[in-house]
């Protein structure tokens, strides 16, 4: 019995100390760090192709005017103190990055 209790205690300790298993690959519109992603982009220089290559597929909201808003979000973390950051990118009708914000 003592041996069983010791084994259970050891298992529980291991659970508390081991970091959560790594989550799967990032999905469409997900990024690891919004600030790091923003730092890698340049207004007036980065194109849609550049951004897709660097960050992967975005959530795209495109308008008749030719402007597009691309949204990336950090993956939600359980019991996080704040909602995941979002990186919002604005492309002008020529496909050039015109504005960006992290929120």
């Amino acid at each position: 019995m003592k041996r069983l209790i010791f084994l259970l205690a050891a298992l529980l300790s291991a659970c508390a100390l081991t970091p959560p298993a790594a989550q799967g690959p990032l999905g469409a519109g997900e990024i690891a760090s919004a600030h790091a992603a923003r730092a890698a982009l340049a207004l007036g220089l980065s194109t849609q192709t550049d951004v897709r290559k660097a960050l992967g597929e975005a959530i795209v909201v495109d308008f008749e005017s030719g402007y597009e808003v691309w949204v990336y979000r950090e993956r939600p973390v359980k019991k996080a103190e704040r909602p995941p950051l979002e990186l919002v990118l604005l492309f002008d009708p020529s496909g050039m990055l015109a504005n960006a914000r992290v929120r």
């Binding site: 909201v61 808003v69 979002e86 919002v88 929120r103």
Partner: protein, 266 residues
């Protein structure tokens, strides 16, 4: 709003008689004999009455106008004509260059259950109330004004969304009251003057950029937003559309709503 209209509203709309008549009028507006783009004068007047009641609390210095907005691609409003139409009369209503107009006090219109009728096809345009405190910069609105704008718009029956699914329609009917605007983040669509890049709430030193989820009708959270577009009166205004946390009273009525636009230089 003119004092004469306020006095007229007070005289005309007091008592249960009005409420019973308003219910009748709602039944009339779905008749096939009426052009669905029409709005009920009586119901719009009821919105103006609500403005008069709630103005002191939410927007003491503001004025009320109503506004016409395009809904379908290619709809021009610069030469629009608007009339107050009853059974025995049709009175032109002047429309300003910005698409706004004032609702006049008109006893005959009330008696004849008149309509406010633009010379545009059904479904080509939509309507909103506009509550503005004077003296603010062009890219700034006051939150209390917008709270009242929502309440007046709901009471006046200005929202023109048509959805194909019964339960969505039912939900919309349930939402069709000023109380809806006191929800934390009601799905009441406001429209900025130009295509929006960001919306920021400011109260004293507190400053908060709204999530992109509250812009563009929530399109960034809805993969099917384009399929729903024909049923939304935001159809050609998506890039100008935003929601606000109207029911979050931690933001005072004097909080300011700052807009940045897509064509601004960063």
């Amino acid at each position: 709003m003119h004092r004469s209209l306020t006095a007229f509203i007070a005289a005309a709309l007091c008592g249960a008689h009005f409420h019973a008549a308003a219910a009748d009028e709602e039944a009339v507006t779905v008749s096939a004999l009426r052009n669905p783009v029409d709005k009920s004068y009586r119901r719009m007047l009821s919105g103006a009455e609500l403005f008069a009641q709630r103005r002191g609390e939410l927007a003491p210095a503001a004025a009320l106008r109503f506004k016409l907005l395009p809904r379908r691609p290619g709809t021009r409003l610069d030469d629009i004509e608007l009339e107050l139409v009853g059974d025995s009369f049709a009175t032109p209503l002047p429309v300003a260059h910005d698409g706004t107009f004032e609702l006049p006090a008109d006893a005959a219109a009330l008696k004849e259950r008149a309509s406010v009728r633009p010379n545009r096809r059904a479904g080509s345009m939509t309507w909103r109330a506009e509550v503005r405190t004077p003296g603010l910069p062009a890219d700034v609105r006051r939150l209390g004004d917008l709270r009242l704008e929502c309440e007046v718009g709901m009471r006046a029956g200005l929202i023109s969304n048509y959805r194909p699914v019964l339960f969505r329609w039912l939900d919309e009917r349930l939402a069709d009251s000023p109380e809806y605007c006191r929800r934390a983040v009601p799905r009441y669509l406001f429209f900025a003057d130009r295509a929006l890049w960001s919306v920021t709430l400011v109260a004293g030193t507190r400053r908060e950029v709204l999530s992109v989820d509250l812009l563009y009708g929530g399109a960034s959270r809805d993969p099917d937003w384009k399929a729903d577009l024909p049923y939304c009166d935001c159809e050609v205004l998506m890039d100008r559309a935003f929601f606000l946390p109207l029911g979050d009273r931690s933001w005072p009525d004097d909080a300011l709503v700052h807009f940045e636009y897509m064509d601004d230089t960063p």
